[in-house]
Assembly symmetry: C2
Homo-oligomer: 341 residues x 2
DNA sequence: GTGAAAGCGCTAACAC
DNA sequence: GTGTTAGCGCTTTCAC
């Protein structure tokens, strides 16, 4: 039977045992096992041999408590349901791992209260740094962050005031850019189709920017439709169908909250015999590979999500090394003119 | 300036300070702040007030070192590049969070050596449990797992011998099931199109099962094509194009390593005027929503990835509570007859 | 219901 | 180059 259920201690080997076998003091063993310390070559060899013989695995809880810096970084993301935040996490993990750090993860589900609780939980582990893609922070969250004496990066968005550092781009500007692009293509009658936006303020910022971009040319958004629930290909498909059914006059171009939604619309149009972009122009957001592999590649805005994660982790690591990375790093979006608008 | 760069201690408040303010001993404060201990109601209130006043955040490193159980669970996944393992992680995180646990994450990139190193790293944090979706384990990995005195779950796959527990399904059986289904639909000339499979032994198991399923009916796979690189929609698109170009005789049905690849093929067929399934039948694997939203929904096998993650975390948590969950939990696949085969 | 003492496994600081 | 001492912040005994 496994002994983790009850039974006696059966502890893992400790540094003290390694030291005894190697015939040195604990601290010498400690120095030998970490790099960068001055230890006689022969001593180091003896200690390493003893450690190997015992299958010694250092206890970082003890090490960190005793004064070593933690090698954990708290990461709080709002969702893992689409590939967007998985990409960010991928970039984060890659950069952190390069320096021997590991993410402790929490998913807030776009819930500020849950985000606050997660932050509290992760802080108990005394991480070396913190990465968040915050939704709307609570007052307590803000205060916890203010008191947290460690590098903190907010990712995805650089519009809001920064606690410590931020890595991302302006979603408002991205929305505006798409407005300008579509107007440039000659469209004048616009609709917006989004998923439940109350929770996703970055999508809301893009919509705002889109509206503003249109307004600058004297054009107004003729319809804004918000679907219930999280974004998905299916939701976009249903949404565009409903929008076209209900519209008194068909829009020339539709801007979607993201690519998932837009791809759903492409599928609907294929089935319904609506030609893109001639009958209806479609534009998404995110630059997902699925959109680019379509027979008619999606017009969209690419966000460099993995790079954002990578840069965020890099900022943390740099600051921990005593360097001073820029407090705001812009990893800008890129307009991808496809074949659908 | 931030004080995490140098400067003086500036430590966080400790339990000792909370105790002093509340006018009790450390241990009483400790008991008051954890639930389940006998403390006078009034005392608890005083301690909680003091803790709040100080913005006290318990130090779990110290707590765990002193004998409390860790609330971290090590998670090693091979990839975050497609939604598959992000789904697993989502399920894991959800169940872990329910009991106050948090995942520490490592991504192995399907590299056994890297997996081993990650395991070593995560073990240093003395997690309460371990979840892996192992590729081919090294000898050292196996030995580390054997010596790790904690619940361990291997996810995704239940074909291999189990270290402690496993949650998933048989990929071999899934491949066989697809073979039987396609034969049942009347196809007799089959091709397989996969991504670089050397690293992904689960895809390989499906291929084996597919071959075996065909062999049972006396049919052989007439072509097996492996594309270089990780799977993607684009790779599937390029792959099917090349396969059809080079084939002396067009297959009736193609089985893909996964849905991404298969969707790429659907897109190619749309562009090339090849009717699915009449000119060519296509079948994928995973049951991604993108495939189901296609104008012609993809024939595929759905894997319940989020549920697998959830069940894996549940097994860990149960075992930590002293219960004895089944050592193998099958979260079976489901054949999804679509419109492409 | 509360407390005193001891120690978890390690490292910083200061010797020598 | 190596060792001694003194903690890090908490929880586990075992008392009372």
């Amino acid at each position: 039977m496994d002994s983790h259920e009850n039974d006696k201690p059966a502890r893992r080997p400790t540094l003290s045992q390694v030291a005894r076998i190697a015939g040195v003091s604990e601290i010498t063993a400690s120095r030998a096992l970490r790099n960068g310390s001055v230890v006689a070559k022969a001593t180091r060899a003896r200690v390493e041999k003893a450690a190997r013989a015992l299958n010694y695995v250092p206890n970082r809880l003890a090490g960190t408590l005793a004064g070593g810096a933690s090698r954990q970084v708290g990461v709080i993301l709002p969702s893992l349901s689409n590939i967007v935040f998985a990409d960010v996490l991928k970039g984060l993990e890659a950069r952190l791992e390069d320096d021997g750090y590991h993410p402790i993860l929490g998913i807030s589900h776009y819930d500020p209260k849950r985000e606050e609780q997660l932050l509290r939980d992760l802080l108990m582990w005394r991480p070396a740094g913190l990465v968040l893609a915050p939704a709307q922070m609570t007052e307590a969250t803000r205060s916890l962050l203010g008191a947290a004496d460690m590098p903190i990066v907010e990712v995805m968005d650089i519009d809001r005031p920064v606690t410590d550092m931020a890595v991302g781009f302006s979603h408002h500007t991205a929305g505006r850019a798409m407005a300008h692009f579509l107007v440039g293509r000659g469209y004048r009658k616009f609709a917006y189709l989004g998923h439940d936006i109350s929770t996703d303020f970055r999508a809301l910022a893009r919509l705002d920017g889109f509206r503003e971009g249109l307004a600058e040319i004297g054009v107004a958004l003729s319809e804004t439709r918000i679907m219930q629930g999280p974004s998905s290909v299916l939701l976009g498909k249903q949404g565009i169908e409903a929008l076209l059914r209900d519209a008194s006059e068909r829009p020339e171009a539709v801007f979607f909250s993201n690519d998932d939604m837009a791809v759903g619309a492409v599928f609907h149009c294929q089935g319904a015999g609506i030609a893109n972009p001639d009958d209806l122009a479609l534009a998404g957001f995110n630059g997902l590979s699925i959109g680019q592999a379509l027979p008619t590649p999606l017009t969209t805005i690419a966000s460099n999500r993995e790079e954002i994660g990578f840069a965020a982790a890099d900022s943390i690591v740099q600051k921990l090394r005593g360097l001073a990375p820029q407090s705001v790093r812009r990893i800008d979006f890129r307009l991808v003119p496809g074949a659908t608008a």
